[in-house]
Amino acid sequence: MADAVPPSGTGPLAKREARLAWGLLAPTITAVALVVILPLLAIFWISVKPVKLADLRAPEVVLREDLRGGPEVAGDEATIRYRLRNSSQDQPILAVSFSDVIPIGLVVQSVDERCTLDGRNLTCAFGDWEPGYRETLTFPVLVEQSYLDSGQSPQDSEATIEGRSSNVLTNDSFTLENFARIFNGEEFFEVLWVTLFYTVFGTIGALLVGLFAALLLNKSFRGQGILRGLYLFPYVAPVIAVAFAWLILFDPFSGSANALLIQMGVTQQAINFFGDRPLALIMVTVFEIWRYFPLSFLFILARMQSIDTDMYEAADMDGASPFQQFWYLSVPQLLGILSVLFLLRFIWTFNKFDDIFLLTGGNAGTRTLTVNVYEQAFAISNIGAGAAVAVVIFGCLLVFSLFFLKFISREEGL
């Protein structure tokens, strides 16, 4: 071989294929970029900005205009009143001015010194306004008949307002206070601990319970399909429906679970399952296990059914007992899917929000990182802090994902 080196570049067929591929992917890439990548970038941006929910609305000059004095006949005196304020309590507005047209038939008697009247055009300039600044302007006017005839009122002519203000979202003020705030004190570590507890035990529990269910259903019998469907119910039903069902079932006053436990003599006093530390955390974890064991069950079952039955027949011939078969054959065979499932579920449980939010709202020691995002951003209206928590979550996920990708490239399937 004279030239045993691969040719460089791509051939015409490959080029055509690549062009088509990018064409097909373009809409998806755009959509994903718009709704995933962009928001992720935004999160990072916001996390270093001092943004409160209300800051999403840029400060503006609010102007109200009315005619006071209730003139009834020509020649009555009245006043036109302009009330203006800076809508923001913490942002100034620079170079405020407005202009308006005075209706026909109102003769302005005197003009504030900051204003000029040119014919019927009124222009006022105020300079810079402090946050929360208010201003009331009154102009005495003399009413003429033409005004009364026209049926116009001063508010009918829309005043045009000018003023510069900066939007926290886009200006150049940055702060690390959001992070300082969330990392502050034991609270953060409690949240982290709760998250880890919930994630680790929720994941492992769901895997084990799922494994048990899969073992149970890994034989064909009549009604197997129905049972399988039934066992998937917890996952398929809307989370809000099952979460409320659990709340009602475990209600300390009128919940059947407590009634049952009391009746059976397990406990004397009703137990507040979702309200007491640390029981609430255990309960939300149990809920997680309950709701997601179907998934592990489904995956493990699928894997089990793809295991060559020949292998078990060979083991039968080799004289292995059922437990030996389970321990020496099934478990090692399932190890792959179990670890993939563990990692994936770990990440998903880590990401879980709805369940805890609906069950306890993050109270009674169940506040996880995701609930904390909501808590900070919406309950406390501190969007910046919420974003900071989100950044922390994202950081954790990045670590998990790297780990996961490294791992998954070794495991086949999935």
């Binding site: 992917l25 469907g229 429906a241 069902a245 998934l295 990440i347």
Partner: protein, 402 residues
């Protein structure tokens, strides 16, 4: 030691009796609201005796009938494994002990099938243990899956005061007739659930179509076409699939607030598919990869362009997968709660899940809340049971996500 028939038998008998007596007690309590209570000590005694008898005397008909009769009589006289309260009616007392007796006497002999008095070999012993665990497993799973749904449905049919008086009493007073469904009636007449149902349905279906429109070409490209960056792309699908919704929800909320898309139908319809496209991409590309490429190559040889091959060959062949994906996406959209909760304020635009959330927060009786939950659950369940095969496939294909 444990692997001796005369030990294994009583031990398994006792354990099985505990399982059954708890089951019967719970079932009877839930069905009648009367006091039933399993006695662990009595269960052990009864179970051990029965297990011992089955192993030593044999599994003949007479032994089974003996156990059955003893259990019924013992239960009726009040020293059976399930104890009853003083006000428990005779009928339910008899029914309970008969239920326990029949289930126990018919199942224990088969659990102990291979157990004989002497030393057991591994196979016989493990066989018995496995049969015991299997029985326990079926009861356990059926119970944990059914009870919340049972409570949901029954609560929706009973009013507040009935429930507070006896939270265990789920018996239904059929004489109330249509009045039983009062909460459903009110949901639809006073709480707008008709609109919510329609909104949810409409949004979910639209989401399915939009998702497919984006995911099919994308998934095909990733699965079949060779281009640089393909591997990276197919990995990033998985990565994107792992970004938590709450993290995205925050900027989306901000952006929607500032653009006026919040609290609008179209905002929701825009955002839902994006949450489902990665899932759909992931599932579809897996399926496309599994399709025999030769069929497509045959199409190419027969003179079709790539796009024509996708349209005329790949898609018709993928119908089952498309059905699975659609169902799965439908389910996600139907069950979606977080975005609906954050983005929708206006009751006329609520989806079902949002509607249920609004039932929670007021002085609205909980039977309405549960009725709402039932309304949201039933369609997805019906769809699920009807199309179980597709659903299961869809779930297995892509739903590590939860």
């Amino acid at each position: 030691m444990i692997r001796r028939g005369n030990v294994t038998g009583p031990v398994l008998g006792a354990l099985w009796m505990i399982v059954l007596s708890v089951t019967v007690a719970v079932a009877m309590s839930f069905a009648t609201g009367q006091a039933f209570r399993p006695s662990i000590a009595l269960s052990i005694v009864w179970g051990a005796i029965a297990g011992g008898a089955l192993v030593t005397v044999g599994r003949g008909r007479s032994v089974r009938l003996g156990i059955l009769a003893a259990l019924v009589i013992g239960g009726a006289l009040g020293f059976g494994p399930v104890l009853v309260g003083p006000e428990t009616s005779l009928a339910s007392r008899l029914f309970g002990s008969a239920m326990l007796a029949v289930s126990f006497a018919s199942s224990l002999p088969s659990i102990l099938e291979e157990v004989k008095p002497g030393i057991l070999n591994r196979h016989e012993f493990e066989g018995a243990v496995i049969r015991f665990l299997t029985g326990f497993g079926y009861i356990f799973f059926t119970a944990i899956v059914m009870i919340p749904f049972y409570v949901m449905v029954m609560t929706s049919l009973k009013n507040q005061s009935e429930l507070i008086q006896n939270p265990l009493d789920f018996s239904i007073d059929l004489s109330k007739g249509a009045e039983l469904f009062r909460s459903y009636d009110e949901l639809f007449t006073q709480f707008n659930f008709g609109t919510y149902l329609f909104n949810s349905f409409f949004i979910s279906v639209l989401t399915v179509f939009i998702t497919l429109a984006f995911a099919i070409p994308g998934a095909y490209a990733v699965a079949r076409l060779r281009f640089t960056g393909r591997a990276a792309f197919s990995r990033s699908i998985l990565l994107i699939y792992m970004v938590p919704m709450i993290v995205l929800a925050l900027p989306i909320y901000i952006a929607f607030s500032m653009t006026g898309l919040r609290n609008s139908f179209w905002g929701i319809v825009m955002i839902y598919p994006v949450t489902t496209i990665p899932v759909a991409l992931y599932m579809l590309q897996g399926y496309f990869r599994g399709l025999p490429s030769e069929v497509e190559e045959a199409g190419l040889m027969d003179g079709l362009s790539r796009l024509a091959v996708i349209w005329k060959i790949t898609l018709p062949l993928s119908l089952p997968a498309l059905a699975s994906v659609s169902l799965y996406v439908f389910m996600i959209a139907w069950n979606e709660f977080l975005l609906a909760f954050m983005l929708l304020d206006d009751p006329s635009k609520f989806t079902l899940t949002r509607g249920i959330a609004s039932l929670n927060s007021s002085e609205i009786p909980r039977q309405h809340l549960m009725a709402g939950s039932v309304v949201a659950t039933v369609p997805i369940m019906a769809l699920f049971l009807g199309l179980e095969k597709f659903m299961t496939k869809g779930l297995t294909a892509g739903s590590v996500k939860g």
